[in-house]
Symmetry: C2
Subunit: 180 residues, 2 copies
């Protein structure tokens, strides 16, 4: 079940990944972009379980067993609620938001650390008017994420605070669908 | 030759490393410190090939093949000039400075990325009056760093700009020795 796929948004659009040695120096540009790093927005569709997420792979190199990626969730957006065997090590570096890990929801701010253990449900949600950006270190060899079944979703929603957190997304999605 | 030791400052003072699961949430505190993360200053002595460096291991966890560490070099300080088989993936997150990688010297600023390939000489140097802080991702299983021999140091100093970069440290060390 080990693949070399994916993380928070559960979609890989087949963009080529350079596994050669990166240039030694890659300066940052304004707006959390980098020279020589592809910006990969996740394509939205009606059934997408995420909203307004992009990914930039900062380090994926020969001789390193992990990748370092930068994910950004636009204001009001959220990553996929998912879990998997592999672990995530996350450091927030832009903006504010909330994250759900297991049954717990916490506010996050720049430089906060979040450890997502094996098989733990997790989701990141940006504050309403500001992007939430975070680094995520992950093994290069890893399994694909699982989405919650209806029963698992019901169990999660029964936890204190989690129902409100998840239903906020659903209400927003409905409003958005009505306004089209 | 694989050990689980060390990076930029070539000294490990045997501080216990927790390989158990970290707490899920570890908020940042002021001044680039974190709840639940030990601050590990490198002890200086007369022959130390580094100056004013500290390390904080942010992520070292079951199931992740890499560690993420935060190194900070005080204003005017520098890390050890060294090389090793293992690769480093670096992102600057505080202050400004210069870094030498191979024969090249570059100024660095927050969010800049630096890839240090296998067996490449490298050294980080903070600007005069401001700390330089950077994240460094590295395999947990890795070899010990090598210091340059006299001959290798002479070869490095012969490269354009490198002599000035390295001799600046030596002049400073002499001034500091004289002032004691």
């Amino acid at each position: 079940m080990i693949t070399d796929l994916e993380g928070f948004a559960s979609r890989d659009h087949g963009l080529a990944m350079d596994s050669e040695q990166q240039p030694t120096f890659r300066p940052s540009r304004d707006g959390f972009r980098w020279d020589g790093v592809a910006h990969q927005p996740y394509k939205q569709d009606g059934g997408a379980p995420f909203k307004d997420v992009s990914r930039q792979v900062l380090f994926h190199e020969d001789g390193l067993a992990c990748e370092l990626r930068y994910f950004e969730v636009d204001g009001g957006g959220y990553s996929t609620l998912e879990r998997h065997q592999h672990a995530h090590a996350v450091m927030v570096i832009r903006g504010h938001g909330e994250c759900l890990v297991g049954g717990e929801i916490r506010s996050v701010k720049p430089l906060d650390l979040v450890s997502i253990a094996s098989w733990t449900w997790h989701q990141f949600r940006a504050s309403e008017h500001e992007p939430l950006g975070f680094l995520c270190m992950v093994n290069i060899a890893r399994d694909r994420p699982q989405l919650p079944t209806e029963q698992e979703m019901a169990q999660l929603k029964a936890l204190p605070g989690v129902g409100r957190f998840l239903e906020k997304h659903e209400r927003k999605a409905r409003r958005s669908a009505l306004s089209v």
